[in-house]
C-alpha cells in the first residue's frame, strides 16, 4: 500500500473542493477503499476523511414514513433501525444480508452505493481490463460465472450493492454535494451502464460526495420483500437478488408493483415487464411465475453464467410471493 496522508475537512464544501483535486479519495467506512488500497487499485496521495464531518451518521424518519439516511450510517444501523424496518423492510433486510457483522459495523450506506465492482479481473492488479483503461473486458471470453446476464457490454460487471436494488425500488433520491454546490439525483439515474463509460459505475463527478439518501414512504398499504441467493450461506455476495413492492386495492387487485433485481446487471435492474403483468392482477402463484418469467426475458448469458437466469427468476417469484403474503411451496 502506498503511503498517504489523511485530511479532516472542516465541512462538506471543503471536503468536496479537496476531492475535486487529483489523487485524493474519500474515506468513509473504508471497507472497499482499504481493499482497493491493499490491492493497489487505488493509490491516492491523500484521503479526505468524511467521518470528521458531524451529522452524516443519522437516520431521520418523518411521521409519514419517509426516511432521510445519512451517508455515514452503517449497514448495521440500517438493519437494526425500527424506523427503517417499519415501512422499508426490504431495505433493512438487504442491509442485514450484506457482508458480515464485523463489516456491517464499519461499512457505510454511501460507501455501499459507491463501492467498485467485485469482478475478479477488475480486482486483480496485474490485469489492465476495460474498467482500468485497457482494451478488453476479460470476462467476455474468460471465467464469467458471476458476471452480468442483463445490460452487459462492453463490460460485464454486476453492481455489487445489496442496498441499491432496494433503494431503486423505493424511489430514493440522492443529494450529491460537489465543489459547486448540491444537486439531487434519482438513484436510478445515479448508476450508469458500461455502454456510457465502461470505466465508471455511477454519475458522480470529481469532488461529489453522497450527502444524503432520501427515501419516500411507499404507497399506503404497500408490502415489500428482499430476497437473495448466494453460494456460501454464512456470507457472500449474492448470485442474484430481488426486491418486490406490492400494494393492493380494496378489490384485491395489485395497483402498485415494483420489481428490481440485483447482481444480474451492471446496475440495479428494474423489470417493467414483470410489473406490467402484476398490475391489475390478483396475486397467486401463477401470476408470480409469469411475472418472474417476464423479468428475465432478454437475458443474454455468457458462457458460464446461464445458471443465474433460473436463480434470478426464483428470487423474483419468491420476493413477489413474500411481499404478497403467499406461502411459496417451492422455497
Amino acid at each position: 500500500m502506498k503511503r498517504f496522508a489523511v485530511i479532516a475537512p472542516a465541512d462538506l464544501s471543503a471536503a468536496a473542493r479537496m476531492l475535486a483535486e487529483p489523487n485524493r479519495s474519500a474515506l468513509a467506512g473504508g471497507v472497499d477503499l482499504l481493499d482497493l488500497l491493499k490491492q493497489e487499485l487505488a493509490a491516492p496521495d491523500e484521503l479526505v476523511n468524511l467521518k470528521a464531518l458531524g451529522g452524516l451518521d443519522r437516520i431521520e424518519s418523518e411521521s409519514g414514513g419517509a426516511l432521510r439516511i445519512g451517508p455515514l450510517v452503517t449497514l448495521h444501523q440500517l438493519a437494526a433501525s425500527p424506523a427503517v424496518r417499519a415501512r422499508h423492510p426490504a431495505l433493512a433486510d438487504a442491509a442485514a444480508e450484506a457482508a458480515t457483522p464485523q463489516l456491517r459495523n464499519l461499512a457505510t450506506v454511501g460507501g455501499n452505493l459507491a463501492q467498485r465492482p467485485r469482478c475478479w479481473y477488475f480486482r486483480n492488479p496485474a490485469i489492465v481490463c476495460l474498467k482500468k483503461g485497457g482494451s478488453k473486458c476479460y470476462a467476455v471470453a474468460g471465467l464469467n460465472r458471476y458476471h452480468a446476464i442483463l445490460g452487459g457490454g462492453p463490460s460485464f460487471i454486476v453492481n455489487p450493492s445489496n442496498l441499491a436494488p432496494a433503494l431503486v425500488a423505493y424511489d430514493a433520491t440522492l443529494t450529491l454535494h460537489g465543489p459547486d454546490g448540491a444537486r439531487k439525483l434519482a438513484i436510478a439515474e445515479f448508476f450508469t451502464l458500461p455502454k456510457a463509460d465502461p470505466r465508471r459505475e455511477n454519475a458522480l463527478i470529481p469532488g461529489e460526495i453522497i450527502a444524503a439518501i432520501d427515501v419516500p414512504a411507499p404507497p399506503a398499504g404497500a408490502r415489500s420483500a428482499y430476497i437473495e441467493a448466494r453460494e456460501k450461506q454464512s456470507f457472500d455476495w449474492p448470485l442474484a437478488s430481488a426486491v418486490a413492492i406490492l400494494a393492493m386495492n380494496r378489490a384485491g387487485e395489485i395497483e402498485y408493483a415494483r420489481i428490481v433485481m440485483g447482481a444480474v446487471a451492471p446496475i440495479p435492474w428494474r423489470a417493467p415487464s414483470a410489473e406490467k403483468i402484476l398490475h391489475g392482477a390478483r396475486l397467486d402463484r401463477a401470476v408470480a411465475d409469469r411475472a418472474a418469467q417476464a423479468a428475465l426475458e432478454g437475458a443474454a448469458p455468457l458462457a458460464h453464467n446461464a445458471y443465474k437466469i433460473p436463480i434470478a427468476r426464483a428470487m423474483v417469484r419468491r420476493a413477489i410471493l413474500r411481499a404478497g403474503g403467499i406461502a411459496d411451496e417451492t422455497a
Binding site: F4, V6, L103, N105, F235
Partner: protein
C-alpha cells in the same frame, strides 16, 4: 485473487535464522521472543517502509485550506483507548488498527489472516461492537473504546466465554479463536439468550478451517446459560 507477501512472511524472512526451530521448541528463544527482542526495531521499521533513522515522528504538517487536521504520510503520533487504557502510538496513517495492535503495541492475540475482512480472525470491539480491525485505519479508531482479546481475560483469569470454550472443546488449532471469541462476546452482550441460529449469524463472519463450529455454538450456548444463571 493474487496475493502479495504479508507482514508475517516479511518478518520471517528478515528475522528468523534458517536453522531455528519453528516456534521455539526446546530452545529458550522462541520466534516471538526473538522478534520482540533484537529483531523488533528493524522489523517494525521495515513494515513501515522506512529506515530506523527515519522512524521519528514528524512535526505536524501545515494544514490545508478548509481542513481541520492533516496527518501523515509519515509517522504521526495519536492516542487510542485500548482495553481501558490510553495509549499513544506513532504510526503512518496507512497503518490499520490491526497493524497498530500487533506491530506497535504487541497485542498479538488479535490475528492477521486474510487481511481483507473475510475471515474474522482480526475481530476486535469498537465501542462494544465487533469490527474487522484489518479493514479500518488506526487513525480512524481515535475517540473510540477498543477492546481486544487481551482485554477479555488472560490464561490465569479467563472470562466465562473463554472458560466455556475450554470446557466445550471449542477449538483445535486456535488461530481463529480470539476472533470468534470477540464476535461471540459482543453478540452475547447484546442478546443474553440467543438461539443456535442467532449464534450462527453472530459468527457468520468468522472462518474456522478446523471446522469446530458445532462446539463453538455449544460453548456460546453454555456461556449464555451460565450468565443467565448468575443474573
Amino acid at each position: 485473487m493474487s496475493r502479495r507477501p504479508r507482514d508475517r512472511d516479511i518478518i520471517e524472512k528478515i528475522a528468523v535464522p534458517a536453522d531455528s526451530a519453528a516456534d521455539g521448541g526446546g530452545s529458550t528463544l522462541s520466534r516471538r521472543s526473538f522478534l520482540k527482542g533484537a529483531g523488533a526495531a528493524a522489523a517494525a521499521a521495515s513494515l513501515l517502509g522506512v529506515s530506523p533513522a527515519e522512524a521519528d515522528v514528524s512535526a505536524p504538517n501545515p494544514p490545508l485550506a478548509g481542513s481541520a487536521e492533516r496527518l501523515g504520510p509519515g509517522p504521526a503520533a495519536f492516542n487510542l483507548r485500548i482495553n481501558g487504557a490510553a495509549r499513544t502510538v506513532a504510526a503512518e496513517p496507512r497503518v490499520t488498527l490491526l497493524g497498530v495492535l500487533r506491530d506497535h503495541l504487541g497485542l498479538t492475540g488479535t490475528k492477521l489472516v486474510c487481511d481483507r475482512g473475510a475471515c474474522g480472525a482480526c475481530t476486535v470491539h469498537l465501542d462494544g461492537a465487533p469490527v474487522a480491525s484489518c479493514m479500518m485505519l488506526a487513525v480512524d479508531a481515535r475517540g473510540h473504546e477498543i477492546t481486544t482479546i487481551e482485554g477479555l481475560g488472560a490464561p490465569d483469569r479467563m472470562n466465562a466465554l473463554q472458560n466455556a470454550f475450554v470446557s466445550n472443546d471449542a477449538l483445535q488449532c486456535g488461530f481463529c479463536t480470539p476472533g470468534i471469541t470477540m464476535a461471540l462476546s459482543a453478540a452475547l452482550g447484546a442478546n443474553p439468550n440467543p438461539s443456535p441460529e442467532e449464534i450462527k449469524r453472530a459468527i457468520a463472519g468468522n472462518i474456522c478451517r478446523c471446522g469446530t463450529y458445532p462446539h463453538v455454538i455449544e460453548a456460546a450456548l453454555a456461556a449464555a446459560k451460565a450468565a443467565r444463571g448468575r443474573a
